[in-house]
């Protein structure tokens, strides 16, 4: 029984990781056709960085992810604090809305935001992308911070208030240090989600602000492009670093 379950686990992990390994290996393949091995080469990485439009899209994506992660971390942290500390009318509704954003298919969120932006006459571009990305990152930040707050000793903020600290001062000096690891983990997740998003961005981006996932999308719809192997490998390594950082921050803070 034991070896059976072991080999089953191994098999599924293999299936999950084989395509990723293939992609990484082929990104160093010199052959133009993309299927046969033509020796090691960095030519696709080279052609990637010599492609001006590609590099521009990369910067655009990085800037978008940076700003979207930051804004969603700030709003998400405040939301989590409000849900945790304050009693207010409609708390359950607020909670419900966050849950719906997280669970509903991305495409539903995407068209609803597109509708809003077009009716308001907002030009599709950086601003519309930012608003949309912050919205879909928000619930993930809220959950991460809430999880951190749930095991927290309630007497500390009360003591701070009793000692005369205002709500703001107490939040800054007592709560903020406690939720810091969750904020960093939430920021990293938001950054990665924003960097990788295709579905929502397809709807709310305009020609004035081209981002990386959409550029990849237009490249891979027709045939195979060796540059995509290289770009995909870079993105994978990038995401992996972010994930490891986040795991590290969270596990350290538990100790």
């Amino acid at each position: 029984m034991r070896w059976l379950s072991r080999s089953y686990l191994t098999l599924v992990y293999l299936l999950l990781y084989v395509p990723i390994v293939v992609l990484v290996v082929f990104s160093f393949n010199d052959s133009r056709t993309g299927y046969n091995w033509g020796g090691l080469s960095l030519r696709w990485y080279d052609s990637l960085f010599n492609n001006h439009a590609m590099v521009q899209a990369m910067w655009n994506s990085l800037w978008l992810a940076l700003t979207a992660a930051t804004v969603s971390t700030i709003i998400g942290a405040l939301t989590a604090l409000a849900l945790h500390r304050y009693r207010f009318r409609g708390k359950r509704v607020l909670n419900g809305m966050l849950f719906v954003v997280m669970m509903s298919p991305e495409i539903v969120l995407a068209i609803s935001l597109l509708g809003l932006f077009l009716l308001l006459g907002l030009k599709l571009g950086y601003v519309s992308l930012l608003l949309a990305h912050v919205t879909f990152c928000l619930p993930f930040v809220v959950i991460t911070v809430m999880a951190r707050l749930s095991g927290f000793d309630e007497r500390l903020p009360e003591a701070a208030r009793d000692l005369g600290a205002s709500d703001f001062t107490m939040t800054r000096t007592v709560l903020l240090p406690v939720i810091m690891p969750a904020l960093m983990a939430g920021w990293l997740l938001g950054f990665t989600l924003s960097m990788d998003d295709v579905v929502v961005s397809t709807f709310v981006s305009g020609p004035s602000y081209e981002i990386l996932p959409l550029r990849i999308y237009s490249m891979v719809r027709v045939g195979l492009k060796p540059e995509v192997n290289a770009l995909g490998t870079l993105l994978l390594v990038f995401s992996l670093v972010m994930l490891m950082l986040s795991q590290r921050i969270l596990s350290r803070s538990k100790q």
């Binding site: 992990y13 395509p19 293939v22 939301t79 409000a82 509708g115 579905v199 891979v220 993105l235």
Partner: protein, 286 residues
């Protein structure tokens, strides 16, 4: 009310910001979609009066109904395959010693953090006519000519399963983690055989995990329009492709909105079932 704002300016500012964001970017857009679905298509302003249910009627137009049913079929098959692979997988995973489990869970979260478009493209490298799978099968002598794997229904389903499997496994893993060994032993001691224990104890106790997994797989499996775009050719469309075409190309908002509402209602139904199953367990446990 005025007093509380004066006393706690920070609290007031936080609540205004949070509510403002959610009302403006979550509630308002969703109301807009519901509204759009019962309005009339208009080329210049996208939507206009009068109100009508034409968009919903159009969903039953045989042309679209076929696409919807086919999409539902592919999504259901994807979900079933994910469940069949994921259920024993999550069970086995929950039995691995704790220290190794951390690493294995990490390996499952990696896909969640990596670009799904890039991973779909990686599948294309393998499934292409002169791709790795065909070359491997030919060199093993299983087939003589490359088989058409790409641009088929099978390719779309493989792609969806590949992308969504972790979303099935994670909730299942969490219910198997909570499944206590002594419950199984008790069932055994009371004379239940393996099958009876599985059917009467394991399945009901893991049902909330199954439903959560189904919810997380079935809906994206209808919405991830880039999977058929990359792997499926023009015949294997998802509801997501229809919504995207109606909104971005055909500019038929009412129809796209109606299709999206059908997706949302499906989600609501699944959430309701999930809640119900959890509540039932809670009552029985108490």
């Amino acid at each position: 009310m005025m007093r509380s704002i004066k006393q706690q300016p920070f609290r007031a500012a936080v609540l205004v910001l949070v509510w403002g964001w959610l009302l403006f970017l979550v509630l308002a857009p969703n109301i807009l979609v519901v509204g759009a679905s019962v309005m009339t298509r208009n080329p210049s302003t996208f939507i206009s009066l009068p109100l009508n249910l034409d968009a919903y009627r159009q969903l039953f137009n045989p042309l679209y109904l076929d696409v919807f049913l086919h999409s539902l079929y592919m999504a259901a098959l994807t979900t079933l395959i994910c469940l069949l692979i994921g259920y024993p997988f999550a069970w086995a995973l929950s039995r691995v010693e704790k220290r190794r489990q951390m690493l294995l869970i990490f390996l499952l979260i990696v896909p969640f953090w990596t670009n799904s478009l890039v991973r779909t493209y990686a599948l294309k490298l393998i499934l292409a006519t002169n791709g790795l799978l065909n070359s491997a099968l030919m060199s093993l002598g299983v087939i003589d000519e490359p088989a058409q794997l790409l641009y088929t229904e099978g390719a779309v389903i493989v792609g969806l399963v590949y992308l969504l499997l972790p979303f099935m496994i994670l909730p299942l893993y969490s219910v198997f983690e909570d499944l206590r060994q002594d419950v199984l032993l008790a069932s055994h001691d009371l004379g239940a055989g393996r099958f009876a224990t599985f059917k009467n104890v394991v399945v009901p106790l893991t049902l909330p995990g199954v439903l959560a997994g189904v919810m997380l797989v079935l809906l994206p499996a209808m919405g991830l329009f880039f999977v058929p775009d990359i792997l499926g050719g023009s015949r294997n469309l998802l509801v997501g492709n229809v919504i995207k075409n109606q909104f971005l190309d055909a500019r038929n908002w009412p129809f796209g909105a109606a299709a999206s509402i059908v997706l949302t209602l499906t989600m609501a139904l699944l959430m309701f079932a999930h809640r119900l199953s959890k509540r039932r367990l809670g009552e029985e446990g108490a």
